[in-house]
Symmetry: C2
Subunit: 232 residues, 2 copies
């Protein structure tokens, strides 16, 4: 699974731009490159956190399972973002399970290198901060939605967030170009797949979206925005 590090992929990332050439080499010295096929797990919830990662290519889904067994999706990881940084949360185990949604490549460092790297390279500290900061803002947005909005608005928000993170323009709309099941949307929205199904069929009737098995094409972004803002 280990391969040589692809410099072309690395050089574009904000982290390494910030670090400069010398810094980049120093940071990469202790890293290994890993490849994960679609569906492969990078780490499991509860497992000892002995590595941290940055995603170079592809897309991951981080989910947690509650004590009652109900799963929720915590985060979608995009290229350039750090993940598995349990140490930043003062944890020794991973709080969630990371699964590759599509074919992915990540750099991995041993967690013992964390403190040293963090202190020596401000660029890493800044990137880690921004990753966590971004997550925190998304988390607060979700809390606001879950606490104050009805299902339809929440689903609209979820779809819009997916579009902005993973959307690809296409004739007649924007496609979410990786397998999203209704179950996924339900877990992101805090509802059940049944209700999601109902909402989406209603939207489809009005020509807002076009669904399919693990597929979704958004036809009318503006209208979706209005729904998510509570105007409709």
């Amino acid at each position: 699974m280990n391969t040589t590090i692809d410099r072309a992929l690395v050089q574009k990332l904000p982290l390494f731009v910030r670090a400069g050439d010398a810094g980049t080499e120093a940071i990469l010295a202790t890293a290994v490159s890993r490849r994960y096929g679609a569906g492969a797990k990078v780490f499991d919830q509860g497992q000892a956190a002995d590595q941290f990662f940055i995603l170079l290519h592809g897309c991951l889904r981080v989910s947690q399972t509650t004590s009652t067994g109900q799963p929720i999706i915590v985060r979608i990881v995009n290229p350039g973002e750090l993940f598995g940084i349990a140490k930043a949360l003062r944890r020794t185990d991973y709080p969630g399970t990371a699964t590759a949604v599509s074919e992915s490549i990540a750099l991995a460092w041993p967690m013992v290198a964390w403190d040293g790297l963090f202190e020596r390279h401000a660029a890493l500290a800044v990137t880690a901060m921004q990753t966590i900061g971004g997550q925190l803002q998304q988390a607060h947005a979700r809390i606001r939605e879950l606490a104050t909005e009805n299902v339809e608005r929440r689903v609209a928000h979820t779809v819009l967030r997916l579009v902005s993170q993973l959307g690809k323009p296409e004739a007649g709309g924007t496609r979410i170009d990786f397998p999203v099941s209704k179950q996924d949307i339900a877990e992101l929205s805090g509802t059940t797949l049944h209700t999601v199904s109902r909402v989406l069929t209603a939207w489809e009737g009005h020509g807002l979206v076009q669904g399919g098995r693990q597929k979704l094409l958004v036809r009318d972004l503006a209208r979706l925005q209005q729904i998510s803002d509570g105007i409709l």
Copy 2:
């Protein structure tokens, strides 16, 4: 409102323990101490973020108001925690409103000093990281609750969290020793004050808690735990 910095309050905080004596002096050089009476606002949602803070003494409540005007409480700030660190979230304005719940003292730095302090003092970076990391974990816990649990469990979680952050042991139970209105609990739990009232009266009937005007005494922590875990 400015006063001299109380070293006794400062020295105990993890941030300054980590920074050492020399580091502490350097960090404090650009800080001013501020006092806020109960109910006073430290900053307002949307206001330009020109300062960041660490709470020395007292207790703050950070809340956000949604576009529809419904408020939710985002965070309770305890002594030793950083707050108003908009820069870490890559924002130029404060995302919420910070209000002193009880008489409070905070240190304030101009936001322009952020980058310099952050790079020069790893202790500050670590503390900031831990503050945000802790918030992120709490946020994820709340998301899990809101997405999967019924109102009673959520209220139980909220009360337990309040107890662990602000509880004072007392004859016959643990008191939350600052004014908590049912409205506050409702906003933290993502429900309405009516429902909170019903839940608490039911609990009171079973001897779990004892309520009062803006007061709450928890009599049976273990049982509350069980409710929050879904055992009851």
